[in-house]
């Protein structure tokens, strides 16, 4: 069993960290995992993405053409990845800033006002956690508890005061089920 997830958005939206968190959680659950970022002559505000694979067996290619799931944190990411999601897969969209509907009807679409929810929680930086929560509620890859454990286990001690807010953000996101 192998699950592939692409997380994409603007640099600064927490794309790479959300992916790392998934990878940490997968590792802690005893799975094989890979995390690979797009890297290049990137700049602040440019696009960023990473691919995370969680698998029961040795992982071959770290990149996939058709992932099981995509989190599109902005419009360019939706435009780039909508067609790539495996039929039956999951597409989580940050509806706060994506200004068009999803066209695919053969996948599970989850639209989340992630910026709005994060701001309501008091910190816009939680947007990635809201979307991650929404992903996990619709994709049977890892339980939310595994992500919470990974946050606690791998976030530096000095950031631990932020843990409750992050858990809350995950839970708010998890309230969104695909239509």
């Amino acid at each position: 069993m192998q699950t592939e997830i692409i997380i994409a958005g603007f640099g600064g939206q927490g794309v790479l960290f959300a992916g790392q968190l998934l990878a940490y959680a997968g590792m802690d659950e005893g799975k094989n995992v890979t995390w690979i970022p797009s890297y290049g002559p990137e700049m602040r505000g440019g696009t960023a993405n990473c691919t995370v694979i969680v698998s029961d067996e040795e992982i071959g290619s770290p990149l996939v053409r058709n992932p099981s799931a995509v989190i599109a944190m902005n419009r360019p990411s939706l435009d780039k990845y909508e067609d790539q999601v495996k039929p039956g897969g999951v597409l989580v969209v940050n509806a706060s800033i994506v200004d068009r509907p999803v066209n695919r009807t053969d996948i599970k679409v989850v639209e989340v006002d992630a910026n709005g929810i994060a701001e309501k929680l008091g910190d816009k930086r939680m947007t990635n956690m809201v979307l991650l929560g929404a992903l996990l509620a619709n994709l049977p890859v890892l339980p939310q508890a595994a992500i919470e454990k990974a946050l606690k286990g791998h976030l530096p001690e000095r950031h631990h005061k932020l843990l409750p807010k992050n858990y809350e953000a995950l839970s708010e996101g998890a309230k969104h089920k695909a239509k």
Binding site: V33, G60, S61, L63
Partner: protein, 370 residues
């Protein structure tokens, strides 16, 4: 032992630290920089030497000097940076002293780009620097193998007084995977009889790659080659997947080998009897392994991220006795598994031939991409 999630470049650096590296000299270049950056923090912490040199030339010559002491030393770079270091690497080989070099390959030739590639196989495996020398070249395909082979590189470099290269690429360097790190090894306390450690109370030793007398030089050339025969006899490493009943074989090293694994699994799921051979030592090349499978399989598909550099070694090992096909992406593009799967389908469908060159067939097939 607990697994840690590490970036390939950082994992190599920590593995080197634990293998007892006492001096690191380098110069930043993407996609290798995290390795140097990690060392800049970690080495001083342990009271070991770290120097960011003024250039790759400076770095490799610092390695040369430090290696003469018999201590474990290393450098790392990426393709264009390694080109700059080759003169020094040849001198180090000519002085018969150990060093570990890490090459995180990127797209080329020239300045190219910073994306993953395997186009420096020939540069590392078949020389690069001038003169007759053979570096040991290890090709990991995962972060864990990057760790294990870095440690092995130090052991082999010491054992054979040789340059040992860990040949990775931008993809392996940038990706994170769980890995188990080895325990911290104690630093060396005794040094080989050739090492220059201060001559007080003993006869002076001298190390150099200069041999003005050709007969002395030839003697040294023989010594290097006889030592290489030992490496070939003892150090070949490779990994096989699904080879028991394989009628067809895919082969590739490093990143292309692991992409091929996904394609081979997909082909197996369709009932195609295909296996995978992934060389771990690309120098010494597992010649016998390929020579053996010729008797058992109907065709071999070589997959690389270059225009067929390892392909020539496979052709030499199999002596054109079995049909060979070739597929590659170049310029910093990593193939997707479905591209390799298509090639497996094509190979299985045939017809296959031992006539002509696999590279020509590949180029002709991909002509539409012009």
């Amino acid at each position: 032992m607990a697994r840690e999630l590490m970036k390939g470049n950082e994992a190599v650096a920590e593995a080197a630290v634990r293998a007892g590296v006492e001096a690191y000299f380098g110069y930043p270049i993407t996609p290798q920089t995290e390795l140097l950056e990690y060392m800049s923090r970690r080495m001083p912490e342990l009271g070991r030497a770290f120097v960011q040199a003024e250039s790759e030339l400076g770095a490799i010559n610092m390695v040369y000097g430090a290696a003469c002491t018999g201590k474990r030393v290393m450098s790392s770079s990426s393709s264009p940076g390694v080109s700059l270091m080759l003169e020094g690497i040849s001198y180090i080989a000519g002085t018969e002293i150990p060093m570990v070099m890490v090459d995180v390959m990127r797209g080329g030739p020239g300045l190219g780009n910073i994306a993953p590639a395997q186009a420096d196989y020939n540069q590392m495996v078949h020389g690069g620097g001038h003169g007759d020398y053979r570096p040991i070249v290890l090709a990991p395909a995962s972060v864990q193998e990057s760790v294990d082979l870095t440690v092995l590189a130090f052991d082999l470099a010491d054992k054979y007084r040789s340059v040992a290269v860990v040949l990775t690429d931008g993809s392996l360097g940038q990706m994170m995977e769980p890995c188990e790190l080895p325990p911290m090894q104690p630093l060396k306390t005794s040094f080989p009889e050739w090492s220059v450690t201060g001559s007080e109370g003993r006869e002076r030793r001298s190390l150099s790659s200069i041999n003005l007398d050709p007969s002395m030089q030839e003697e040294m050339n023989f010594r290097l080659m006889r030592r290489w025969q030992e490496v070939e006899a003892n150090e070949v490493r490779y990994k096989e997947y699904f080879m028991d009943d394989a009628q067809f074989v895919v082969t590739g090293f490093g990143s292309s080998g692991r992409v091929a694994l996904t394609a081979v699994r997909a082909a197996r799921a369709e009932g195609i009897k295909v296996g995978l051979i992934r060389p771990i030592t690309v120098n010494p090349f597992p010649i016998k392994v390929y020579a053996e499978i010729v008797k058992k399989v109907e065709g071999i598909l070589v997959v690389e991220m270059n225009a067929g550099q390892m392909l020539e070694d496979v052709l030499a090992a199999t002596k054109y006795q079995t049909p060979i096909e070739f597929f590659a992406r170049m310029g910093g593009i990593v193939p997707f598994p479905d591209e390799v799967l298509n090639e497996i389908h094509r190979m299985v469908k045939g017809p296959l031939t031992t006539e002509g060159h696999p590279r020509d067939r590949w180029l002709n097939r991909t002509a539409h991409k012009k």
